[in-house]
């Protein structure tokens, strides 16, 4: 214990950052993660929406992309596909629809679960705008972006399955 305290003081003196819980490397197993590999996977969004990337898009732009890469599974206008319907079942906050699209769509169907195509933030804003449009929550040319997306509310939360 005394040894540990001494080490702690030393680290503080030398200006090292040590978390208050005082844990140090124990086994030195595992390598440092690179910034690229973290940002490639770290796409989950905090509930306040601060972590949504910058970008913008409209339903008009989204519709074209939807027909190209989503319709085969989700069906025309988001209904009658093999995948979940995208109208009538919007999930509480549109930020989650954004998150689901950005992290996982178009769904990877083979191998270890990775996708062939990864969407850019702009494409994700457009596709989300299109789904909001299908649900009567946005007009065709409304520009959806980082600032107004977290503010979109579904009119009746009880409506959600």
């Amino acid at each position: 214990m005394r040894v540990r305290l001494a080490a702690f003081t030393l680290l503080v003196l030398f200006g090292w950052h040590l978390s208050a819980s005082g844990q140090g490397l124990q086994y030195e197993i595992g390598r440092s993660a690179t910034q690229e590999e973290i940002s490639d996977w770290d796409k989950t969004l905090d509930p306040a929406g601060k972590e949504i990337p910058e970008g913008k898009g409209t339903a008009v732009q989204g519709k074209i992309m939807y027909q190209e890469s989503c319709e085969s599974c989700h069906g025309e206008n988001g209904i009658n596909g093999s995948a979940p319907e995208l109208t009538g079942y919007l999930r509480i906050y549109p930020i989650h629809t954004w998150d689901k699209i950005y992290r996982t769509m178009p769904l990877g169907t083979s191998g270890a679960g990775e996708r062939d195509i990864k969407l850019s933030p702009d494409e994700t804003y457009s596709l989300t705008a299109y789904i909001l449009y299908l649900n009567g929550m946005a007009a065709e040319n409304d520009i959806l972006h980082k600032q107004n997306l977290p503010a979109v509310r579904i009119p009746d939360p009880d409506f959600i399955r």
Binding site: L25, Y27, D158
Partner: protein, 418 residues
């Protein structure tokens, strides 16, 4: 490193020799269908007279690609407390398990940590490990009026010995921030499921598991790596784990908001969705159970079943054979691990008259499994409409499951009657 190489060489060698042995047995003349199959010896298959199987759990809301949502454990045939890996329940979100090569798999731990780290499967095998017996139970596992068998109503629970590294070991290795109160973690499967978990639990007993009953975890249960959160609804135990992020608040990820939070009911003014944690104390008679038959008329029968609780070990199980009037303490057959299936037995002399049999679990915190009516009163819903979406926490359902016995010895689901 040298040791590992030696071991590999031995294994290769071993396989070759096994091939020869098998070959010679075969040459000696295959008499039964067992002997004609290499599988039975090289990878112990079961007797052709044993046919117990999982069944598909079909849910219309998950009809993506026409695939089913999951596979249910045949509890009616279960023995002891361990579920064989081939029969462990599995839920899937509408797609098949990913086909992950363990040499390519990596686990990233990042966020509010001193060092963001990447672990390979080989790295994880070098860290201190634990093996623990724990049940898993899907939050949607519940008595169902419409399900004739115990497999249909309660088949979303299983129990295994899990082997792996404690999550606390990895968190300490990365050096977590004292202000971090939550972790979120993500699977590698197509849907990339995310779950939030309080740091307190993460540091307590959560495992990052790679072993299941003495062998690598099966693909549908998360191969090569999964989270195992003892006693919590199984949705916390993310499969195919690839990332842990240390954070300061719950994230309410997509799947959490979609189906894994209790949402305020229509009748309530509350607007905040909340998480459930521990499964309540629960039990079910696995035999005799729905669609089985008391074959020998009046006489002695063994009532057997499983009990478990997210609150710790099962303290005792009580059984009633007269529709809930008199309760007698059942015998506990084997070990009583914390947050694990516990097998109970009770020998019963059936007099040949119609009746209802049922069990209830009392855990080490003295929590008692509720009846349907107590459960409905607690949630403020109509007991005749259980389970229902209107019921807040409809998934989190641990009420008592009765089985009706007819005069001819046939057993049926009498949940709606008792």
């Amino acid at each position: 490193m040298k040791n590992l190489l030696d071991r590999r060489r031995f294994l290769t060698h071993g396989t070759a020799m096994m091939g020869i042995t098998l070959g010679s047995i075969k040459a000696a003349g295959a008499q039964t269908s067992n002997e004609s199959s290499n599988d039975v010896l090289a990878y112990g298959g079961r007797s052709r007279f044993v046919t117990s199987q999982r069944i598909a759990d079909i849910d219309e809301t998950h009809r993506a690609f026409g695939r089913h949502e999951g596979m249910l454990t045949p509890l009616q045939d279960s023995m002891g407390i361990i579920t064989p890996n081939s029969l462990h329940f599995a839920t899937m979100q509408g797609y098949y398990p990913p086909d992950i090569n363990p040499d390519d798999h990596k686990l990233i731990i990042h966020g509010m940590v001193d060092r963001s780290l990447v672990f390979t499967m080989d790295d994880l095998l070098r860290l201190p490990s634990v093996s623990r017996i724990h049940y898993l139970e899907c939050q949607a596992n519940r008595p169902e009026v419409m399900e004739p068998t115990v497999q249909g109503s309660h088949g979303k629970t299983s129990c295994a010995e899990w082997t792996g590294v404690l999550m606390s070991t990895l968190l300490q290795e990365a050096g977590y921030d004292a202000n971090a109160k939550w972790v979120i973690y993500e699977g590698a499967e197509p849907g990339k499921m995310v779950k939030s978990l309080p740091m307190k639990k993460a540091l307590d007993d959560v495992m990052i598991a790679y072993g299941q009953n003495g062998e690598p975890i099966r693909p549908q249960n998360g191969y090569p790596l999964r989270v195992l959160v003892p006693g919590f609804e199984a949705l916390y135990s993310i499969k195919w784990l690839r990332r842990i992020k240390v954070v300061d608040r719950p994230y309410m990820g997509y799947q959490e908001i979609r189906q894994y939070t209790v949402r305020p009911g229509r009748q309530s003014d509350e607007r905040t969705p909340f998480y459930n944690y521990e499964n309540g104390p629960k039990s079910v008679i696995t035999s005799p159970s729905g669609e089985q038959q008391l074959m020998s008329g009046p006489g002695y029968y063994r009532i057997t079943g499983l009990a478990w609780s997210g609150g710790g070990a099962v303290k005792k199980v009580e059984v009633s054979t007269d529709a809930g009037k008199i309760w007698r303490q059942a015998d506990i057959e084997g070990p009583q691990h914390k947050m694990a299936h516990t097998r109970f037995n009770s020998i019963w002399k059936w007099n040949g008259e119609p009746t209802h049999i049922m069990a209830r679990c009392i855990d080490e915190q003295n929590q008692v499994q509720p009846s349907r009516h107590q459960f409905a009163r607690y949630w403020g819903v109509d007991p005749d409409k259980l389970p229902t979406r209107e019921q807040r926490g409809s998934g989190h359902h641990n009420s008592i499951q009765p089985w009706g016995i007819r005069e001819n010895g046939s057993v049926y689901n009498s949940y709606a009657i008792i």
